[in-house]
Amino acid sequence: MRRIPVDGNLTSPRIRRVIASAVTLTAAIGLAACGTSGPSTTSSAKGLTMWALSDQTILKDSVDAYNKDHPETKITLQLFANDDYKQKLRVAFGADQAPDIFFSWGGGALDDYVKAGKVDALPAADTDRFTPSVMQSATFGDKVYGVPANGLAPVVLYYNKKVLADAGVEPPKTYDDLLAAVKKLKAKDVVPLSLAANSKWPTLMYLEYLLDREGGSQVFTDIASGDASKWKDASVTKANQRLQDLAKAGAFGDNASSVSYDQGASTALLYTGKAGMTLMGTWEYANIAKAAPDFLKDGDLGYTAFPSLPGGAGEADSIVGNPSNFLSLNSSTKNKDAALTYFKDYVLNDSQVDAYLGAGSVPPVKGLESKLAAVKSSTDKEWLTFVYDLVQNAPGFQLSWDQALPSDQADPLLTNTDKSFLREISPAEFGENMSRAGS
């Protein structure tokens, strides 16, 4: 009997087996190793490195201004895309390759670094020019670990004035108004509230507001400070109940869970008139201005605070969202003085504040009234004043839960939020699952 190899070169069974295993192994290892390669942060002996997100163009100008005045201790700025920036930073810190100055969201993730001794506290004299409620997100144990680096980002309710007028709906002031508006808008065949539920964090914004209105801000403040049993508070269940009620009433249309925020579809639904309202951070204003300038110019964009909940324990003026992003100082930096000079004289200085206001964003700096009054575009002025007043009048500014909690709880939080939204779990199960994840 002749034995002919099917394809001549690989005759040994052992080699074949090794190759078959190699395919498996390299595939698995390729995965296990992904994300470990951060750019090396070599810099001149006295220079500094800084990491931020690539959409922070105004922040970049502050670095350029600093570099012009300090050619001896230049800051080398590296900009990254939003996705996976947090992972990249974390891995860089783990490998001692982290930049001297880094951009973050404050809250639990920053606290992780503080606890690990990776971040230096900043002198109080440098930070008292910023809005106090904002600074809470970067304050741990009475010490401040970051300076705000861009505009205030509370979450507000945007609406399309034309669509609401067509359906005979007033911008909702209370939760019951909202439910009534949902019914009327649905009857007009538009999506009442456009929501990018595929990204999960936009759904979380509803829970944050609903809990804040229902149980008051203390419930989540306790949770964020480590009391996971508070997830079982009755108000958490009630907030989930209301979210599910909204979903059941068709408030988010049929397709919300297919819409991903990064694709811009949830924003587009609003300015194309396919949706009546959307709940989003203040950065949405700049997105709309970019994607649909005419929509803004025609005065069709409306905005208001999240509806109040008569009967709830929370205050109607409270807000949630991202107070600001922060710049923090790596404790192993070799040139702390240069970094502090940059924080003190270049971050959100006079010209930076003007640049942010020009871009439709309110920086968290005290006493902006006169600057706001001087804004030329009336559309922008109205918006900026709205955001400024909203923050000034708010008794509390709750940091987004996914930023406030330690990073190991962020995923269970988003997953359970999504499951609650999809009604895969009962309102009470949300709190039970979260208290288990947090303990």
Binding site: P5, T24, D83
Partner: protein
């Protein structure tokens, strides 16, 4: 001859693998110091219902992918095998998806499947305006479809090459005996393609086991809706790089390696791939 390959494999394959196995026995958040945890990660991973759900989804992706891709790839291979200008043109067109990166494919399909602005918004195609990626029941199958779209061309190419290796004398003899196209396909093409099928199936099964990038992009990095598309590699990534539990993620990674290695060994053994029997005895 094999020395450089083995050296590279050892350096970039076995050494990191050993690192992952050891890391699976430690506690590390990616920032602080590494502490010994013994088998705590393993008992946590094995006791966690989410691990088994993710493994179940992985096996489902694997099985359905094989069932979907193999017949289509075989049919396309049979179609492309005879020489001809038109067939060559089609072969080039079929091959295109393989040239695109998984991230590009993921983002493109995500945009195409958007119920409000994707292909479902085209007049006449409104029946496609379903939340294909948003429904917990449909999302996994949508992902499997996009994976198939990407990989069928590669397997069709394998089959095409395999079919071209079959001596025409076999077909001529069968035709003389009065065998029709179907009989010739079933009794000559399919048996002659045995080893091509084993190769293609092994790549498909082991490949699906570790499939990550497309699922990551299509589900917005979360394995959603809910956990409907959170396959084991994605669960590993989320544990390691979002929850920063490197020890537990390494345990999951080890589990994947063991599973994949066992699977490929089983495949080669069951199929008799290692015995190297000829399908062309007497030729």
């Amino acid at each position: 001859m094999a020395a450089p390959a083995l050296l590279l494999f050892g350096l970039f394959g076995l050494v990191p693998l050993a690192g992952v196995v050891v890391l699976g026995l430690t506690r590390w958040d990616g920032l602080g110091s590494i502490g010994w945890a013994g088998f705590a990660n393993w008992s946590a991973v094995l006791a966690d219902g989410a691990t088994w759900q993710a493994l179940g989804l992985t096996v489902k992706v694997m099985a359905v992918s094989w069932l979907v891709q193999t017949p289509i790839a075989l049919a396309l291979g049979v179609f492309q095998a005879p020489r001809g200008r038109l067939r060559a043109l089609f072969a080039v067109l079929f091959f295109l998806p393989l040239l695109l990166s998984a991230v590009a494919i993921g983002l493109t399909w995500q945009a195409l499947l958007d119920p409000s602005f994707g292909i479902g918004a085209t007049p006449g195609l409104h029946w496609l305006a379903e939340p294909l990626l948003g429904s917990p029941d449909l999302a996994l199958y949508t992902v499997i479809f996009v994976i198939a779209w990407q990989f069928v061309p590669f397997h069709a190419l394998l089959y095409q090459a395999g079919i071209r290796q079959i001596p025409t004398a076999l077909y001529e003899a069968a035709a003389l005996d009065g065998a029709g196209p179907v009989t010739r396909f079933l009794h000559i093409t399919v048996p002659q393609l045995k080893y091509t099928m084993v190769t293609s199936s092994t790549l498909m099964l082991v490949g699906s086991l570790t499939y990550f990038d497309l699922v990551f992009v299509l589900s917005g990095g979360t394995g959603g809706p809910g956990t409907a598309t959170r396959v084991l590699p994605l669960a590993m990534y989320i544990t390691g790089f979002q929850a920063h539990d490197m020890g537990r993620a390494s345990a999951v990674a080890t589990l994947l390696v063991v599973f994949g290695l066992g699977l490929s060994l089983l495949m080669t053994r069951l199929s008799g791939f290692t015995r190297m029997d000829s399908q062309q005895e007497g030729m």
